[in-house]
Symmetry: D2
C-alpha cells in the first residue's frame, strides 16, 4: 500500500525529524525505537511498510529540509551521520514540498490545497494520502455559525471573510480531496460539526488532537496510579520550560492557553475530580528542543496523611513526536483502507486531548489501540 | 462474616496503623482513602465489613499498642485525635496480643502458635482468620532439604535444629490451624514447596510477597509507559532513604539484599530486559517513617536520542501500607470463603514480588484483581 | 535595653510565629535555631536580650493571636505545646494590639499611628521601638511628585487624596514618633526620598526590603558559586508554589510582579549579567505555609559544554522568616542606640532587595554584617 | 615564563580535555569559560600565558591523544570541530608522552620518572615544570614506617618491596627533579611527612587533593548557607551516578571509600558537626562522563520545624575539571617562581580535601585565593 504523508508545517522540527527518521528506517540505518507500530502487539502486514511511505507537504517558510535537518543534528535531536547518509532522499522530499497556497477566498485556497494533494497522489501513484498537521499551534479559533453544518460552511467559505482557522481549512481541503487527516497539534483541525459531516460524506477517517509526548504522557500513567490506589490527589502543578519554534510560539498567551488546557484535562478524566494547580509553559530559548518539565503532586493517604511526589522530565520533543507521527499515519492509512471513516477515537493513546469518549489512562488506551489494530488486520 | 486479622509483628508501625485505621473506619471517623477495596469496582458484600474485623497478633516486643499509636501520631503518621478517640478500641486489641511463643523444637513452637490462633478464633467467634506477616524483614533463609516436601518438613521440625525462618514457621502454623496467610514482607513466608503442599492439603489460600507501596509502585506504572512507547530504558538507578524500625533493619546488609532484589524485578518483567542500575536503601534515622526515594531513568528515543527522567517520592510508608493490609485481609478472607486455596496470584497488584506468573504492569494487575474480586461476589 | 517591636500585620503568620518564638526563647523552651544573632560571631551584650523584647502592633483583621497560633500549630508551623505553655504571654501581647487607625487625611492617620507607637513606648517604659512591616505585600505604588521631598510630602498628606501606600505611611509615622523601621516585605516602605529625609532629620535608622528566606536565599549562594568558577549561567527559571495568606495575596498579579522582580535581581548582581528565565509564584491553597520552590539552572562550562542543575526547596516560610524578624529588630534597636541613622545597608544579608549598594553574595553580606555588629558592640 | 605541565594519566579524560582546551585557548578558538584564573580578580602577568604552556606526561595505556579526543567529542564532552582544528597541536603533544617507567626498585623507577621530567624540561627550554596527577584514583595506601621521614624513605625505596603508592612515587620523583606537584585525585600524592620534608629541601611547592567539581562544590556553598542562617542540618545524603573511566574505577570499593570520605568532610568543617547521612558513588556505564548527583538535605528551623531541600547536579566531569587543572598549573608555577615552597594551603578553593587548615566555605576559600594571587603579582 503506497501511502503518502502530507505534512502541514513540513519544514518544522517534528516534520523534518519524521522525514529523516522514515528514510533512516527504510534504509535500515536505525532501529525503530519510539515507534509504537513496531511493537509485537501492533506490527503486521495491515500497515504500510517503511518503504511504502512518500512525503510531501506545505509550509509558510522556505528553509530547505536539508538545512533544517543539519540544524536538528547540531542541536542533538538527531545524529548528523544520518543527514549525510540520506541527503539524496531528503532532496527528493524537497521536490514534493510546496508553499501554502492562498486564494482570494478560503474556498479558493482550499481548492488549491486539494489540488496540491491530488497532484502529490497522482505523481507518486499513491493508494492513499494522510494529511498530518504539525504546523505551529494556533490561538483558539473564534466560533462562527457556519461551523455548525456543511452547507453553511460551504456557503461561507465562498465569501470574502475568513471562516476557518488554517488547521480547519487544511482538514476541509484534505477531506474534499479524499484524504484522511491527523491533527498532531491542539489547534481546531477537524473538530467542527461541519467537518465531521464532510468526513462522513467522503468516507475518510481522522484523528487528533495534540500528540502526547512528555509531561502529559507521564500524567496519563501516574494519575491512574493514584486513582487505582484510592489516594486522593490534592494538587498537581507543573512547569514546562522549552525553546525551539514550538516554545517561541507558546510564549504567545493565546497559543499557550490552548495548550495548557489540553495538558490538565487528563487529570480530571483519570481521577474523577480536578485537583488544584495548573501546568505552565515558559519559553526559554536556550533550552531548545530538550524540554524540561517539573511537576509537584501532593496527595493524601490513609487517615489523611499528606505526601508528595516530584518529577522532572527532560525529553527531546521532536524525537518523541516524530515516531508517533509515523505511527499515526500508518494506522490511519490502514483504517482508511479498512473502510473506517469519521473520528478514530481508538487512537487516544497518542493524544493529549483525544477525539471521542475513550479512556484517559494510558494502559486502557493501549488495550483499545491493540484491539483496533488487530481489527484492521482481519 | 466475622473475620480475624492476626498480625505477626503486631506492635510495629504497619500493624498499629492498620489497627487504628480499621477502628477509625468502623467508627466512621475517616474516609477510606488508600483502601483499594473501597473503590466502586471492588467494593461489595463479598468482603467483610469494617465492623466485622477483629485484631490480634504476636510480637517479640511489649510496647503497648496505645504507646506505639501515640508515637506514630507524634511522627505525623496518623492524627493524634484518632488515638484519643479510639483509646478503648485499642485497649481491646491489646488484650488479643500475645508474645511470640517459643518451644523446644520448631514443631512445638508451631503448635503453640496454632493454639494462639485457634484461641483467638474461638474467643471471638470468628468465621475465619487471616494471618498477616508484618514483622521485621528477615535475611534470606538458608536452603534446607526438608523445604522440598511436607513429609520431610514435618519430620525435620520435630528435630532440635531450626529448619524454617520465623516467617515460614508462622505460615506453617497458620495453615495447620486452617488460617489463610499473607506475607507483606520480602521474607520467605509461604514460598516453600512443603508449605504449598500443606496449604493445598488444608484448603487455605495465601498471598505475597512484599507490599508495593512506594518507589516500586511508581516503577510499576512508569516502566510499562516506556515499554508501550517502545522507548529503550538504558539505566534506572534509585536511592531510598528511610528511618523507622523498617529502615533500621534494612541497614543490615542481608535484609537489604532481600529487599533490593525484589525492588528491581519489576523492571525486567515490564521491559523485557534488565536495564543497568541498582536500587539502594540507606538508613537515615532522622527521616523516620517518611521515606524519600529518588530515581533517575535514562532512556533512548527515536534515532538514538538520549533523554532522562527523575522522580522523588516522599511517602509515609506505614500510611501507604496499612490500608493495603486491610484490603489484603478482606480479599483473602473472601477468597477463603469462596473456596479458593493455594497461592492467590491474582493479588499481584499489591506486591513487589508477587506469587505466580501474573503481569507486572499495574494496570494489568488491576484488571486481574477486578476480575478476581468480581468472581468472589458471584 | 527594653525594646519594643511593633508589628504592622501583627495577626499574620510571620508576626505570630515571631511573637510565639520570642516568648518561647525567653522562657527557654526552645533553642534559638534560625536566629542569626545567636551565632557566636554576632551575639553579645550590644543586642537586647530575649527578656527585653515587648510586642505590640497593628492589623486590619481581628483574629486573636491565640487562635492564629493554634492554626499555625495545626499546620505544623510551630509545636502546639508551645501555644499551650505560653498562653498567658500571648494574652499579654493581645492587649498591645490595635486596629490600624484611619483618619480623614493621611496626615491624620499618621498622627494616630504615631500616637499608638508613643502610647506603647510609654506604657511599657521602652528605651526604643522598632516598627516592622510584616503585613500583606502591596501592589507597586503609583509615583507621586510629593515623594521627592519632605516638605512636599508633608503638604500633600494634609490633602484629601492618598499620597502614600500604607507601608510608606507606616514608615512616616514611625520616623515621626522617633522609631526605627524595618520593611520585611517588598512594599514601598521607607524607599522614598521624602522618607529618607525624614529619617535623617529624626536620626532614626531603617532597613529593608523583603526578607530573604527561601529560593532567593539559595540563589544568593549558588549564583556566586557559578560566578567564582567562571561558569556561564545560560538560564535560571523557577516556580514557587505556596498557599497561606501570603500566597493568596501573591495570586494577585500586581503583588506578584513586585515580588518576582525582587527575586531575580540577585542573579544580575551576582553574575554581572541577567540570564534568561523568570521566577514564577503560583498560589496553591493546599500547600499552605510549606512552600515548594523548584529551580532549573542551565550553564555552560569549558569549551562550551552545556550542563544543568535543579533544586527543590521545601521550606516553612513563617518559620524561616520569624527568627529573622527578631534578628532585625535586635540589630536595628542596637544600631539606633549606637547613633546610626538612615538606611542600614549593612543588613543586606537579610533581604532579597537590600537598601544601598552592598554585595549580593551571601558570604560577603555576612562579612559586612559581622563587621557592622562588631562595630555596635564597641 | 615557559611552563611545562606534565600529566600523570596523560591519556585519560581530564588530561586530554585539558590538552585540547589549552590548545584551543592559545589559538583563541574558545572563551576561557570555567577558567578561574581568567576572572578579573585573578588574571594578570604573574601567571604564565596560554601560549607559554607545554604539555607532556606519563600513562600506562597507549591510546593516542587524538583518538581519545575524538571519543570525548563523540561523548559530547568537547566540540568535534576543535579536535579537527587542533590536530597538529595534539600530534605535537603526543610526541611528549611516555609510558610510565618501571625499574627493579622504586628508587630506580623514580630515577627514570625524574629523567623523563628533566628531558621534557630541557628539550622544551622550560623555566619550570608542574607535575599534575590526573591518573586513576588509588585505593587508600597501606601505612609504612618509612613514610615518616626522608632518610627512612630513601633507604626503603632502594629495597625490593614497594613502599609508596604510584601517586606518591610520582610526587617523590617530581620533587627530586625540582618540579612542583599537584594532586587532582584523592590518592596519597604528596601527603606523607617524608615527602613534605623533600619538598622543603628542594624548595618546591605542592597542592591537593581531589579537584572539587560537582556535588562537593555545591556542598561548599550550601553548607555555609545553613550555618550562617543558624539552621540545623539533620541529614545530608547523596548519590553520585557516573560512568567513564573514573566511574569504572570507583566501582571498586577501596577507591570508592577514599573518594566518599573526601566528599562528606566539607559538611563537618562548614557546619561544625557531622550530620547523618552518606554520599554514595555508583557506576552506571551508560551515564558516561555526564555525572548525575542527587542530594537530599533535611534541616531544622525556628521552633524545631523540619524542612528539606533536594538538588540534582548534571555536570560533565571532565569539562569541569580541565580548566581547574590549567588554573592550578598556572598558579603553582607562579608560586614556584615567587619562591613559595611546601603545601599551598591557599589553593583550597580547588579541592575537596585541601592540604592545610584553610576554610571550607567556598567564599572564604575564594578570598584566600584572591589574596594569594595578588601576592604573587607583587
Ligand atoms: N514535539 C512535540 O512533542 C509535540 C507534541 C504535541 C504537539 N506538538 C505540536 O506540533 C507542532 C509542530 O511542532 P514543532 O516543534 O515542529 O514546531 P516548529 O515551529 O519547528 O514547526 C512548525 C512549522 O509550521 C510552519 N507553519 C506555521 N504556520 C503554518 C501554516 N499556516 N501552514 C503551514 N505551515 C505552517 C512553520 O513555518 C514551521 O516550519 C506544534 O503545533 C506543536 O505544538 C508537538
Ligand atoms: N511500610 C511499608 O510501606 C512496607 C512495604 C512493604 C513491606 N513492608 C514490610 O513490613 C514489615 C513491617 O514494617 P514496619 O515499618 O511496621 O516495621 P517495624 O519495625 O515498625 O515493625 C516490625 C515489628 O515486627 C516485630 N517482630 C520482629 N521479629 C518478629 C518475629 N519474629 N515475630 C513477631 N514479631 C516480630 C518487631 O518487634 C516490630 O514490632 C517490614 O518487614 C517491612 O519491610 C513495609
Ligand atoms: N514568610 C516569609 O518567608 C516572607 C519572606 C519575605 C517577605 N514576606 C512578607 O511578609 C509579609 C507577611 O507574610 P505572612 O505570611 O505573615 O502573611 P499573612 O497574610 O499571614 O499576614 C499578613 C497580615 O497583614 C495584615 N494586613 C494586611 N494589610 C494590612 C495593613 N494595611 N495594615 C496592617 N496589617 C495589614 C493582614 O490582615 C494579615 O494579618 C508578606 O508581605 C510577605 O510577602 C514573608
Ligand atoms: N573529572 C572530575 O571532575 C574529577 C574531579 C576530581 C578528581 N578527579 C580525578 O581525576 C582522575 C582522572 O579522572 P578521569 O576521568 O580523567 O579518569 P580516566 O580513567 O579517564 O583517566 C585516568 C588515566 O590514568 C591512567 N593511569 C592509571 N594508572 C596510572 C598510573 N599509575 N600512572 C599513570 N597513568 C595511570 C589511565 O590509564 C587513564 O588514562 C581520577 O582519579 C578522578 O577521580 C576527577
Ligand atoms: Na526533585
Ligand atoms: Na529533580
Amino acid at each position: 500500500m503506497r501511502t503518502g504523508i502530507w505534512l502541514i508545517g513540513a519544514r518544522g522540527s517534528v516534520a523534518v525529524t519524521s522525514i529523516v527518521g522514515a528514510a533512516a528506517l527504510r534504509a535500515r540505518l536505525v532501529a525503530p525505537t519510539g515507534c509504537v507500530t513496531e511493537l509485537p502487539q501492533l506490527r503486521g502486514p495491515a500497515l504500510p511498510g517503511w518503504s511504502e511511505l512518500v512525503f510531501g507537504g506545505h509550509d509558510i517558510v522556505t528553509t530547505p529540509v536539508l538545512k533544517k535537518a543539519d540544524a536538528l543534528a547540531a542541536a542533538g535531536v538527531l545524529p548528523g551521520r544520518l543527514v549525510v547518509a540520506l541527503a539524496d532522499e531528503l532532496a527528493a522530499v524537497e521536490q514534493e514540498l510546496r508553499p501554502l497556497p492562498a486564494g482570494d477566498t478560503q474556498a479558493a485556497t482550499a481548492r488549491r490545497i486539494s489540488a496540491d494533494l491530488r497532484g502529490f497522489r497522482d505523481r507518486n501513484a499513491l493508494d492513499r494520502v494522510v494529511v498530518v498537521n504539525v504546523s505551529t499551534t494556533e490561538p483558539a479559533a473564534a466560533p462562527h455559525p457556519a461551523h455548525a453544518g456543511l452547507a453553511e460552511l460551504t456557503a461561507a467559505l465562498a465569501g470574502p471573510a475568513p471562516v476557518l482557522p488554517p488547521s480547519a481549512l487544511a482538514a476541509y481541503a484534505a477531506f474534499t480531496a479524499g484524504c484522511s487527516f491527523i491533527d498532531f497539534t491542539p489547534s481546531t483541525g477537524a473538530r467542527l460539526p461541519a467537518l465531521a459531516e464532510l468526513a462522513r460524506a467522503r468516507a475518510v477517517p481522522y484523528a487528533g488532537n495534540d500528540g502526547k509526548t512528555g509531561e502529559t504522557l507521564v500524567k496519563s500513567v501516574l494519575a491512574p496510579m493514584f486513582a487505582l490506589r484510592n489516594l486522593r490527589v490534592r494538587s498537581w502543578s507543573g512547569l514546562n520550560l522549552l525553546g525551539g519554534g514550538d516554545g517561541a510560539n507558546l510564549a504567545d498567551p493565546a497559543a499557550n492557553a490552548a495548550k495548557v488546557s489540553s495538558k490538565q484535562r487528563v487529570l480530571g478524566d483519570a481521577l474523577g475530580y480536578q485537583p488544584e494547580g495548573t501546568s505552565r509553559i515558559d519559553y526559554v530559548a536556550e533550552i531548545g528542543d530538550f524540554k524540561t518539565a517539573w511537576d509537584l503532586i501532593t496527595f493524601e493517604g490513609f487517615l489523611g496523611t499528606g505526601m508528595r511526589m516530584e518529577f522532572s522530565w527532560h525529553g527531546c520533543d521532536s524525537a518523541l513526536a516524530a515516531p508517533l507521527v509515523l505511527d499515526l499515519a500508518r494506522l490511519t492509512a490502514a483504517a482508511h483502507r479498512a473502510g473506517r471513516s469519521g473520528p478514530l477515537a481508538e487512537l487516544g493513546f497518542f493524544f493529549k486531548d483525544p477525539l471521542g469518549d475513550g479512556p484517559s489512562a494510558l494502559a486502557e488506551q493501549w488495550a483499545t489501540l491493540a484491539a483496533f489494530t488487530a481489527g484492521l488486520a482481519s
